[in-house]
Symmetry: D2
Amino acid sequence: MAERKFRIGIAGASGYIGSELMRILCTHPNVEIAWVTSESNAGKRVHELFPNLLGYIREEFAVWDISLCADVDAVCLCLPHGGAMAAATEISTRFPKLKIVDASGDFRSPVIDKWEQYYKTKHTAPELQKRFVYGAPEFNRQAIKAAQYIASPGCFATSLNLLLAPFAKHGELVGEVCVTGITGSSGSGNKPMQTTHHPERAQNVRAYKVLEHQHLVEVVPFLEGLNKDNDFDLFFVPQSGPFVRGIFSTAFIPLNNHKSMATFNEIVRDAYENEPFVQIVKDTPEMRLVQGTNNAHLMFRAQGDMMVGLCAIDNLVKGGAGQAVQNLNLILGLEETAGLQHPAGYV
Amino acid sequence: MAERKFRIGIAGASGYIGSELMRILCTHPNVEIAWVTSESNAGKRVHELFPNLLGYIREEFAVWDISLCADVDAVCLCLPHGGAMAAATEISTRFPKLKIVDASGDFRSPVIDKWEQYYKTKHTAPELQKRFVYGAPEFNRQAIKAAQYIASPGCFATSLNLLLAPFAKHGELVGEVCVTGITGSSGSGNKPMQTTHHPERAQNVRAYKVLEHQHLVEVVPFLEGLNKDNDFDLFFVPQSGPFVRGIFSTAFIPLNNHKSMATFNEIVRDAYENEPFVQIVKDTPEMRLVQGTNNAHLMFRAQGDMMVGLCAIDNLVKGGAGQAVQNLNLILGLEETAGLQHPAGYV
Amino acid sequence: MAERKFRIGIAGASGYIGSELMRILCTHPNVEIAWVTSESNAGKRVHELFPNLLGYIREEFAVWDISLCADVDAVCLCLPHGGAMAAATEISTRFPKLKIVDASGDFRSPVIDKWEQYYKTKHTAPELQKRFVYGAPEFNRQAIKAAQYIASPGCFATSLNLLLAPFAKHGELVGEVCVTGITGSSGSGNKPMQTTHHPERAQNVRAYKVLEHQHLVEVVPFLEGLNKDNDFDLFFVPQSGPFVRGIFSTAFIPLNNHKSMATFNEIVRDAYENEPFVQIVKDTPEMRLVQGTNNAHLMFRAQGDMMVGLCAIDNLVKGGAGQAVQNLNLILGLEETAGLQHPAGYV
Amino acid sequence: MAERKFRIGIAGASGYIGSELMRILCTHPNVEIAWVTSESNAGKRVHELFPNLLGYIREEFAVWDISLCADVDAVCLCLPHGGAMAAATEISTRFPKLKIVDASGDFRSPVIDKWEQYYKTKHTAPELQKRFVYGAPEFNRQAIKAAQYIASPGCFATSLNLLLAPFAKHGELVGEVCVTGITGSSGSGNKPMQTTHHPERAQNVRAYKVLEHQHLVEVVPFLEGLNKDNDFDLFFVPQSGPFVRGIFSTAFIPLNNHKSMATFNEIVRDAYENEPFVQIVKDTPEMRLVQGTNNAHLMFRAQGDMMVGLCAIDNLVKGGAGQAVQNLNLILGLEETAGLQHPAGYV
């Protein structure tokens, strides 16, 4: 209790990921929020924008200023894609020892030209990118613990990684891997637009960015790095669903002819049996049972030469702020689960 | 106007498909509802059970009795799966010329042993099954027009057929075809159960009957019948979504090496350019734009060796009562679209 | 059948009310859509904006021009509040015999200063306002039939009128009348904003414009005009609900001491027993049973000195485009229900 | 940290209130769950029924047996209405010093004949009822702290109390007080039924038990006990909304002529300024901002002689298991807020 708490700054705290990060950190036992920034809300008290945090956070939104970093142990970047590159460059120059967890897409992909193509932006910090470790704790834990800079994965990317990386690690991804994923409206952020306009979203399902979602530029290199001996193609169709939180992904994974389903079950067990935030469920993941939590529920089943994998996560938590805190815990040397153990409601 | 209207009886009218059939037929220009039956609601006025039909249907629910059939031009069976076998047998014996459109699963599959396995029931009328034509008008129109008995397709089956049958007709289904489909809660019928309990459904996505949904026993033989020269495997993962009406299906279809996407586009155009209820859309189908209608919206896109097909329908209309009316129109020699042309709302 | 159809122009057709008006009129037996205008979508085909109308409307959106009016029997104005004043003034000058149904708020209130206060706009056509009849057919039918210009009521206003006007007609509104009404998100129109942003609306209920909703400036004068001999105060709390279509209103109406509930029931029966679009239901209105239709479901119940009235309508139909068509039918001398008789689905 | 935790038993833990109680208590710093009972799930692990609690609770559901009570500091009763009477009688006889928090309706009303009429059951423990203190901490805190037996209020009752009790304490409830409240589907419990069948609930609003909801038998006596010098009538219309969690209530409270709104604001401030779980908000409560929490958000506004009060709570937390824990904390001498301080998400 008398232990010093780590002081954390949050840059870009007025979006949904920022708001979730504050929600989690404000009751985290080993961390305190030192400051939060938002250009558009500077001077407002946090609870004026987020009344759900009334009584939990007293801070005002500050304007980003590099000098804020003098006083903290780590910075979480929740800036819009593109914004993190500038901030991280500034931090790395002025405070070369400060730790960073970046929740944006800026540093997730080592394949800069692909990144530039999918994000439609010039990457301004390709050298710095090389110093970022991809924050997928189930597969990269030791590297994360040793790292100074973490690129926390995207929401769809997290569900694809959880479904595919265990097999990639054994070189078992072959042929054509097909995945659909349906996401809630909170994934689109807090700025109203036509596809999140309630009358048009509330009873709708649609696809978007068919076969060309930007999370592919982080998932494919990551899986290829693990799956050294074999080739595969990844086809991904993202969909928008009429709910607020959650991603439910379905993967069709060709069974490598040389392997049986028993082998695949063993691979899954090995991958996840000691993971604090991954549970293998019996019948089917149910999205509502992970909403608000850092948990991922998975199921695998095979028929003939095909395995189906199912995965449910909360896009803003395991697919966003929760995984960022998991990474933060690891780079600060804290218990990996600290601040993240609140069960979901059953309904 | 002075033309006689066809008289139609509806057996098993108290379920959701029956209620939709009444909704459509009560404003159909060439048809009148002669009687409707429901064992559990016998004696009740239709609008007591379905207040939405107040002012549109004056009938009471009758108890099923074969003598009702003396007076009608056709019978629509909306009985539970299993119940249609008995009724159709009775009708075919006593009124051998009467036309039947069956909305249940009983006569959809010629592969009786598979049917018995998936429906967990003994099939009691396998000979009669052979006289039923599968009511997929986009692919079977001439046979339907000439038929006396129609087995109207299932909801998921309709979306799978629309996505895959055009290619099957050209023998282009090869390899492993993978499909996900997400359905609304109305697909589970009007009897409350845990998976349709609002607190547990309203913010949930889950899978069920993974790789073993009963609609496979109608779809696979139908596609195989079309796709004579090639083999394919069909893997289907049905999902439950937090909405009431609609199915959104996503198919991953390997492109036959000998064919280009251009060829495939031509196949799609040939299949659908004159179809009154199928529209090829530009970006993505949107489920809400087909809700309440008999329309199917489709989109196809390819990358490398893979084509993705997307399909949105209303499970109770194109996937149920609407397609039944489309089939009814065809066997009665009416305009195929009669009674089915009401646009959806935009929201 | 050989009868000429009335030609109707729709100004401002790209909003939700405009889209609903097109949805209804495109299958109306006695009417054809002559033209539709939208400044921001000029040149686009209607179905490009509203794919639900593909196959039903071939028109392009035109730019508003007074010369369009040369060719039509009536014009429906679905312009934003404020815009109808200018258009109606222009029409009345250039085509002094043309009929107008205005769906905006501009001409609904004879109390111009109150109107200006609630709508925060200068009223530029107060003289013209006097020539508009308030389009509440259940209470104003004869005046509507004889009128040239109709101001079609607002959505909340329609539900308040239906709950209170029968009693006002008998001078029975006394004391403090309290009403809550909860509305779907489509009531806010097609422009995305924070309160209709799906993540923030989908699981929320909130109040807004507490005691000061602008529909009071049409309802209060209308009811006062009917309720000549007594005074009453009207307190109204509008609420936003997590659904797309519909309004559910609850009125607490003090029973005048001199009258019994039996008398009140008689008043209700007299008011509505021959109304084609109003049904008195037994237990409770259910919003979903009127969605998509022009129907209003009502129930009244008393205890001690208080009567409770409940009302469910579709805000875009009976509270918008449907009632506008009902008014259009009346001023054109058509059957009042023409084009408006499509039952809702049960789910 | 070395402090002993209080041991708590939960009888009837397989319903939604029971599941919420477990969700809250499993991370409560000063309490441990000793046992949980469920007749229908006896022998099952808690997480088999409630997978959201996997990793948080290891217990199996036991069959209720009075000997379980030997080992605990307090028992929470989450039995169905009617069931708590028997259990509490047995406990009070065999373990006369054991503390009880009852979440059912059995002991909430001192007016036994009214209770029997509204609950349609014979009350079998009227003497024991007198020993229960009504667990509304904002108004009864000292009595609760001193009590052995607590009857924790109902969900609607909690929102009515919060809206009306501050005025009752000053004798300011006069005339006719009218309230509407809309509740989520979780309020109906975990057993599927027609009104919670997703297809029929998901886009619906309806009223039920108009003017005769059973929570009136606890609210009216409670308010009358506070509001000694004046008479009032309470008219309450409960409604079902298309969401899972939450109650939004709207009260119309006649302003006593002798008092100004300023006085009423002072009454509100006095009542709530030090309350840990009640916040007065500026514009409107928003239901989603209290979902999952023990908070109540309120707003009051007046016009002429009428005040409007708005209240949002989570029906399962502040209106159920959360308030039960608040009461448990008080009778155990713990910090009132212990285990209850988790902010809601913003979306």
